[in-house]
């Protein structure tokens, strides 16, 4: 009989972990809160740095889960985690030989940065709203017209102690570069300004894409955080920042302001961690056992992590880590049950 592993979360991390487990002869069960697999990537249009369609990554993974006959629970929320299984909100218990926490992250709620007027001003949108528009095939202002001047603000809900988000969300810089290029391709005569604090191009091909955005697409990069956005009488957005490289305040009016929202830890991490006797990192993410040799292991034997449950990660890093998780689970089960 195959050993059974419950994978909490059916996003990219959960799917990849389950696929890898299944191919090792282990029986994974995915418990997904939503009504379908795919997680946050389902709301994404194209992926940095290659402009691959997100559905070309998520689609095959979901198909593979189906083809491998991996059991999935949909619309089910896990309320308690233990090394020997999980408990659902319905109080149903799913026993298992190990558990993988692949619960992902929560998008930072841009309403909380009140100074940008998200939700109040029609032409202040988030990076997620922009992806949704791109999936829909047309990016316009609220009145349906074409934007001529766009500002993209980095670090909304990242590196900001005022909203309890001390960490860097890692992927927003490159997302900002990617979205700036997509906007320039749609509207070549539009001016796109990225307001950044630091540009963190940590992945392969990212720095190259940044340079391409600057040189080939003529995207303007201004180092400084927008301090305030306000709507003008004709529904444009007036912004204030410091151009820190010239040491002077800068103000301008744009047609559209895109807020690059960061990654927050899930609010229910607190309860899940408490149920499992696990510690959380100060930023609310699950704490890995070791930063080098135990990145997918929790402090309790039998509970593992995959993906952004432990920290902001790119989709590529998440997929790579999920394979590592499957191999760590496999090793654990072999040792525990003394299999040759």
């Amino acid at each position: 009989m195959a050993y059974r592993v419950v994978v909490v979360g059916g996003g990219a991390a959960g799917m990849q972990t389950a696929i890898e487990l299944k191919s090792r002869g282990i029986e994974p069960i995915i418990v997904e809160r939503d009504i379908e697999l795919g997680g946050k990537a389902r709301g994404w249009y194209k992926l940095f740095p290659t402009f691959t369609h997100a559905r070309e990554v998520i689609g095959p993974l979901a198909q593979q889960v189906k083809d491998m006959h991996i059991r999935c629970f949909y619309g089910q929320e896990v309320t308690q985690i233990a090394p020997d299984g999980v408990t659902l909100r319905s109080e149903e218990r799913i026993p298992a030989d190990a558990v993988v926490v692949a619960t992902g992250f929560t998008l930072f709620d841009a309403h909380r940065k009140q100074e940008y007027g998200y939700g109040l001003y029609d032409n202040v949108i988030t990076s997620v709203d922009l992806e949704r528009m791109m999936i829909g095939g047309r990016v316009t202002l609220a009145d349906g017209s074409e934007p001529k001047r766009i500002a993209i603000l980095h670090c909304v809900g990242s590196r900001d102690e005022k909203v309890g988000q001390k960490h860097c969300s890692k992927v927003c810089c490159i997302t900002g570069v990617k979205q700036a290029i997509e906007l320039k391709e749609m509207y070549p005569t539009a001016d796109v300004f990225n307001f950044y604090m630091d540009i963190r191009m940590f992945g392969p091909g990212y720095e190259e894409l940044y340079r391409e955005a600057q040189e080939r697409y003529n995207v303007h990069f201004v180092r400084g955080r927008i301090s305030e956005a306000a709507e003008t009488i004709n529904k444009r957005i007036q912004i204030k920042a410091e151009d820190t490289l010239t040491g002077r305040p800068l103000r301008m009016t744009v047609d559209m302001l895109v807020l690059l929202v960061g990654m927050s830890a899930n609010y229910d991490n607190v309860k899940l961690a408490a149920s499992a006797g696990l510690a959380l990192a100060p930023n609310g993410y699950f704490k890995a056992r070791d930063a080098f040799l135990g990145v997918v292991r929790s402090e309790r034997e039998g509970i593992f992590f995959a993906g952004t449950a432990t920290a902001p990660k790119s989709l590529a890093d998440t997929l790579a880590e999920a394979s590592l998780t499957a191999s760590a689970v496999d090793a654990y089960l072999k040792e525990k049950f003394n299999i040759e």
Binding site: V219, R223, D243, T246, R251, M252
Partner: protein, 111 residues
């Protein structure tokens, strides 16, 4: 209008005004030298600058300001450059900074 002597006036804002600045010359300069946009503000041009070590000449700030449409005084300021070419040697983005000095002067004229 009566002339009231107040002893002060309405201070002019210091902010770079991207709505009213004339960006045409800035666009011209960028169009002729697109790699200028690739500047990452590292400051190595200013650090190595012969003139900048003797005066408050700051090439990084100057060309950033020009890109924002701030031209006032730039021509005169650029005359401090000795065209030694060290900045071009150190620029990690490969920007032809020495050529840029001449390009900006040519485009702006004695603004």
């Amino acid at each position: 209008m009566r002339n009231v002597v107040f002893g002060y006036g309405i201070s002019r804002p210091r902010a770079i005004d991207m709505d009213n600045n004339d960006l045409r010359k800035s666009r011209d300069i960028i169009a002729e030298m697109p790699e200028l946009q690739a500047c990452i503000g590292c400051g190595s041009c200013t650090a190595s600058c012969t003139a900048g070590n003797l005066t408050d000449f700051n090439f990084r700030k100057l060309h950033t300001a020009v890109r924002r449409g701030e031209y006032k005084g730039v021509y005169a300021e650029l005359s401090k450059c000795m065209l030694c070419g060290k900045c071009r040697l150190v620029c990690p983005r490969g920007i032809n900074t020495r050529g840029l000095v001449m390009l900006i002067k040519r485009k702006l004229g004695d603004f």
